[in-house]
């Protein structure tokens, strides 16, 4: 039954095609295109003195070489700052090709176009660029010291400084019976999609039109940016996101230098030009995220209730800020999770360094915020000798308090107001799943076997489905084929399946009749993009609304033809029929024929429809004033605010007493993203998120040396976890519907990765008995911590010691 589609674990319709090599990714397109390659800066900070391209000129197959000097008009201007913010007082963006200074290793300096990529790289190798090295700023400490500046006109390397405060935190801290100070840090990682970025541009000189393909998370954004940069009417530029092999945030930033330069060169050369990012380029010239230092000062009562929470943190935004300060804003707001401190103050500094720039990476500042908050919860529990889950539950916002306004402004500039959620129920399910209360027995048993185990926990709330809008367009062809279009892009999420489920359910048609197109500006020119766990919420609801509009029109036309009232009709399996008299019916395809007065009998459906042709009323226009030809529905969904999902994770880890190897024995997830369209796809999203979270917790980091060279810019040395490193993931779901949208859904894309570092740190700390304050952590780092702990340089947790003087966290309030 079609009515069972919504909420059913329907298998991904795109998988047979993608898994059998039928996908068409950027590099599968444009087989005859010229290839672009780039000479990129080998210096982290340098002045460009001279560029000598003569060595490249005798490379057979060379077509063009471009430097900044060659760029005209708006192509020569700095790339746009996409999301300005009043606190971003010193935003800086790069030029498409470096003008006179480079600010990180990998910044593009020269563009080469040649017959193929091999020749383009041969030419790159022969181009000589003379640099004058400048002092390099790497790492948050160096950026804060500001002995050297990344941009000479940005004092203190501070791009942005923002304070949000609810209540009087200093007074509340002074009055609190207990206080703690914690320093907590998270290192850099990156989105690392399987497919890097890529652009293919076709210039049609006869039509004066540009067709652009980009491996992007926003085709509408890229289209508008390129039209503006190349001074073309929007109507003469179309942008298509083909199959995209993952995004995870890095492809929402736009336009990347290559997205401007490749179409510019294609038009100039009147040739098809393609650039496909290789892995090294992705490491050194795309985007990273996560690098933050936090200082938390917290005041609490004897029960562990949060009286005051003061968080200051320093965010490493890399060399430029094209995507604004979205990441630290999300940290500073989403850090609160399911809790309600009586007073909260958050202050951050977003700092320039001579490293790859930062854009959101799945989780987008939340993993860091969650790490800071959840480490704080564990520290409070330890100080008071209270169970860690219990301390958390005492601070929960209760279902009866929903909607709950945290009093802050969220990433979309709108109030941080939780719409729904049942945190006590989520925790209860998690404790049952992981057998929280029985862990003491397990630990004692393990200890008797010479094994060391620990359990950890972490909670989060995630704002999902931010606006401003997405649209849905649905059209039924005379054959009954249902064409569905939404403008946001797909990077593997399963949109062909879930959007089809929504439309099939709303319209009453078989899933097989529904064909979904995403990310094609020819089909839906108004769209925002796929990021911020927003696709299902935004386009799912837009398509539901569009389907309802279409359904109403179909019923109206059918009712007139069948001479019944619309209330007496239903649509089942693509057929409009009279309730209780299914013999009186017409297919949606026939309704589609009837919706269009231009009724050539091209096909069987049109011929069949002639029997329903009404009398030709000479006083009626063929299309009424308030009507349109065709069986179509179109609508937009634009919410007043984000909808807030939540989840809680627990893990059991074992650490080798000798080698300090860390093994995750169990990983448990309870997740609530409201009503689920497809639980199997939600499950997949959670699994993928946890896998990336495990990478962030135990494996991935960007290792820069002091000269700004990225030392591990390959998959050999950047340790993305393999399937063998990701544990079996146990999941359970609550469905607390969102009251904000017609379908009651919340986003699920980022959820899985958010608490993983916090949970693993909590579990390792529990196993080891001393605090874990920095992630990721490797065996050698744990081994070094043990040695420091044994030497007395690292205090024990309170519960691991009887002496009162050796508490793990200082109780004096230290200002940063």
């Amino acid at each position: 039954m079609t009515t069972q589609l919504f909420g059913a674990p329907v298998r991904r319709r795109e998988d047979p095609r993608l898994l059998t090599g039928g996908g068409r990714y950027l590099d599968d397109l444009g087989a005859g295109a010229l290839a672009a390659a780039f000479v990129r800066s080998p210096h982290a900070h340098a002045r460009i003195l001279d560029i000598d391209v003569t060595g490249a000129l005798d490379v057979d197959g060379l077509v063009a070489v471009y430097t900044y000097e060659d760029l005209p008009g708006r192509v020569a201007e700095p790339l746009p700052l996409l999301i300005p913010h009043p606190a971003l007082t010193h935003g800086r963006t790069q030029y498409a090709l470096a003008r006179d200074e480079v600010n990180h290793v990998g910044e593009p300096v020269v563009m080469v176009v040649a017959r193929d990529r091999y020749l383009a790289e041969d030419a790159c190798e022969r181009i000589r660029v003379e640099y004058e090295p400048l002092p390099v700023v790497v790492g948050i400490e160096a950026a804060r010291r500001a002995d050297d500046l990344v941009h000479p006109d940005v004092p203190g390397n501070v791009a942005a400084h923002l304070v949000q405060e609810v209540g009087d935190v200093e007074a509340a801290l002074e009055g609190a019976p207990h206080t703690l100070t914690l320093d907590l840090s998270v290192e850099r990682s990156a989105s690392m999609p399987l497919e890097g970025k890529g652009v293919l541009a076709r210039w049609d000189a006869e039509q004066g039109e540009l067709r652009l393909f980009s491996s992007t998370q926003t085709s509408t954004g890229v289209r508008a940016a390129v039209a503006a940069k190349l001074d073309l009417p929007l109507a003469k530029v179309e942008c298509i996101a083909p199959d995209v092999g993952g995004g995870f945030g890095v492809k929402i930033n736009h336009p990347w230098p290559e997205e401007v330069l490749v179409p510019w060169a294609a038009r100039l050369l009147d040739r098809e030009v393609k650039w496909v990012e290789d892995r090294r380029e992705h490491f050194i010239s795309s985007a990273h995220e996560r690098g933050q230092l936090h200082r938390v000062r917290v005041g609490f009562d004897d029960d562990g209730r949060l009286l005051a929470l003061d968080v200051r943190f320093w965010h490493d935004n890399g060399a430029y800020t094209p995507y604004g300060i979205i990441v630290p804003i999300i940290t500073s707001t989403q850090l609160l999770g399911p809790y309600k401190p009586a007073a909260y103050r958050c202050e951050f500094w977003s700092l320039y360094t001579n490293t790859v720039l930062v854009t959101p990476y799945r989780g987008a500042g939340r993993p860091q915020g969650c790490f800071a908050m959840e480490r704080t919860m564990d520290a409070i529990a330890d100080r008071l000798g209270v169970d860690r889950a219990e301390v958390r539950s005492r601070n929960f916002i209760l279902p009866s308090e929903m909607p709950y306004d945290q009093g802050l402004l969220f990433q979309d500039g709108r109030p941080l107001k939780y719409d729904s959620g049942d945190f006590p129920a989520t925790l209860a399910r998690l404790k049952a799943m992981v057998a929280w209360d029985d862990f003491g027995d397990y630990r004692r048993q393990a200890e008797a076997e010479g094994r060391r185990v620990g359990m950890g926990i972490g909670c989060y709330v995630e704002g999902t489905g931010v606006g401003p809008y997405e649209g849905g367009h649905i059209q039924v062809e005379t054959s009954g084929r249902v064409n569905v279009s939404t403008g946001l892009t797909s990077q593997g999420q399963g949109h062909q399946t879930v959007f089809a489920q929504v439309v099939a359910h709303e319209l009453g048609v078989p899933l097989e009749d529904v064909f979904v197109t995403t990310g094609d500006t020819r089909r839906m020119p108004y769209a925002v993009g796929t990021f911020a766990s927003r696709a299902a919420v935004m386009s799912g609801n837009a398509l539901a609304l569009a389907a309802r509009a279409l359904r109403a029109k179909a019923l109206r036309i059918a009712a007139e033809a069948l001479e019944v009232a619309t209330e007496d009709l239903e649509i089942v399996e693509g057929v409009v029929r009279v309730k209780g008299a299914p013999g009186t019916s017409m297919s949606l395809g026939t309704v589609s024929v009837m919706s269009n007065p231009l009724r050539y009998a091209f096909d069987e459906a049109a011929k069949a429809a002639t029997q329903f042709a009404g009398a030709n009323d000479p006083d009626r226009a063929p299309v009424a004033d308030d009507d349109e030809p065709g069986l179509e529905g179109r609508d937009f969904y634009s919410p007043t605010q984000a909808t807030f999902a939540n989840g809680m994770h627990a893990a059991v880890v074992e650490t080798d007493p000798v080698t300090a190897e860390i093994r995750i024995l169990r990983y448990c997830v309870v997740h609530d993203c409201g009503t689920m369209i497809n639980p199997m796809i939600v499950e997949g999203q959670v699994h993928g998120g946890v896998a990336q979270g495990v990478g962030g917790a135990l494996y991935e980091r960007m290792v820069y040396d002091e000269s700004g060279q990225l030392l591990n810019a390959s998959f050999m040395d950047f340790l993305m976890p393999y399937a063998s490193e990701v544990p079996y993931i146990e999941t359970d779901h609550l469905e607390t519907p969102s009251p904000l949208n017609p379908l009651g859904i919340k986003g699920a894309g980022e959820a899985g990765c958010i608490p993983v570092s916090a949970v693993i740190a909590s579990a390792i700390e529990d196993a080891e008995g001393f605090p874990i304050t920095s992630m990721p952590i490797s065996p050698v780092e744990l081994w070094e911590l043990r040695r420091r702990h044994e030497a007395g340089d690292l205090p024990s947790l309170a519960r691991s010691t009887t002496s009162a003087g050796s508490a793990a966290y200082p109780s004096t309030l230290e200002a940063p």
């Binding site: 091999y118 190798e125 892995r279 340790l719 490797s778």
Partner: protein
């Protein structure tokens, strides 16, 4: 990530291959499985003018097992050797170690001989060749020769092989009767280059340890062997305190600090793995005897 231009040679016989190698000298590189060479080419860390692709050369694809040992031809893929039942029966250490060579897809293509000729101290098979006291068979236009493992590895990525020589096979001699072997390594991720790895062979004669030897992965410049017979000779395996070799191991290994671990940690790991592996090898020796 595209290689610089090179001339591709596709000889059909060993003589043709060695003729090309003699001709191109230091500007030539032999391509077999390509699992190390191709990434180096693509990143332009190596730009040889000539690639001598031996994948079409006849007579290099055999695994021969006889009473003296296992002879592995230059085109035998790791996966073939790993799965070969006769090689396993004769020398279980081959399969014990091969299971740790990268991932299955790499083992499907990469060759055991190539890994030995590449002489990466992080390679498993050089350590196995060392522990067995094996031989390298080199062919050249001006004459073939056999090189003992002790004379083959000179340093990290450095062998006594001459530019005009092609390794056509390696030979792994059998251990004495009563020998059990074991192999262990630790990597940050399954299949990565080991932080430290150990191969062990323990020979039990008349119920007591007669010989105990180790070789190492990733913690020595050159895959040599460490003979710890002295520590355990004459002891019944159950009575041996295998940790007693720890000082010898620490003195033998010389790991370096890199992105993934400190030298000190690697030394600890090698020491820990050494005694665990010896104990396992001794246990396997008893199983063999039983």
């Amino acid at each position: 990530m595209k290689p610089a231009p090179f001339v591709h040679h596709a000889p059909r016989t060993v003589d043709e291959a060695t003729a090309v190698l003699a001709d191109v000298g230091h500007d030539g590189k032999v391509l077999a499985g390509g699992q190390s060479l191709i990434p180096l080419l693509n990143m332009r860390l190596a730009s040889p003018g000539h690639l001598v692709d031996v994948n079409g050369v006849c007579g290099l694809s055999d695994i021969r097992v006889d009473g003296s040992g296992v002879r592995v031809g230059a085109l035998v893929r790791h996966a073939e050797l790993e799965r070969d039942p006769r090689a396993y029966a004769a020398l279980p250490l081959l399969r014990q170690a091969l299971a740790h060579v990268a991932h299955p897809v790499i083992r499907n293509r990469g060759t055991t001989v190539g890994s030995i000729a590449h002489a990466d101290a992080a390679g498993e098979m050089p350590a196995v060749l060392a522990l067995t006291g094996g031989l390298v068979e080199a062919a050249a236009a001006n004459g073939d020769r056999e090189v003992a493992v002790a004379d083959f590895f000179l340093g990290a990525l450095e062998t006594s092989l001459r530019p005009e020589e092609l390794v056509v096979a390696v030979r792994f001699p059998l251990f004495p009767p009563g020998t059990g072997t074991a192999f262990a390594e630790r990597a940050r991720r399954h299949g990565d280059y080991a932080l430290a790895g150990v191969a062990a062979a323990v020979t039990i004669v008349d119920g007591v340890v007669a010989r105990a030897r180790l070789s190492f992965v990733s913690v020595t410049d050159v895959p040599g062997t460490l003979d710890v017979t002295e520590e355990f000779a004459g002891l019944e395996p159950e009575a041996a305190h295998w940790r007693d070799c720890s000082d010898r191991v620490r003195a033998h290994v010389a790991p370096e600090t890199d992105l993934h671990a400190t030298a000190e940690y690697r030394a600890m790991l090698a020491t820990e793995l050494a005694w665990r592996t010896l104990a396992e090898a001794a246990s396997n020796a008893l199983t063999v005897a039983a």
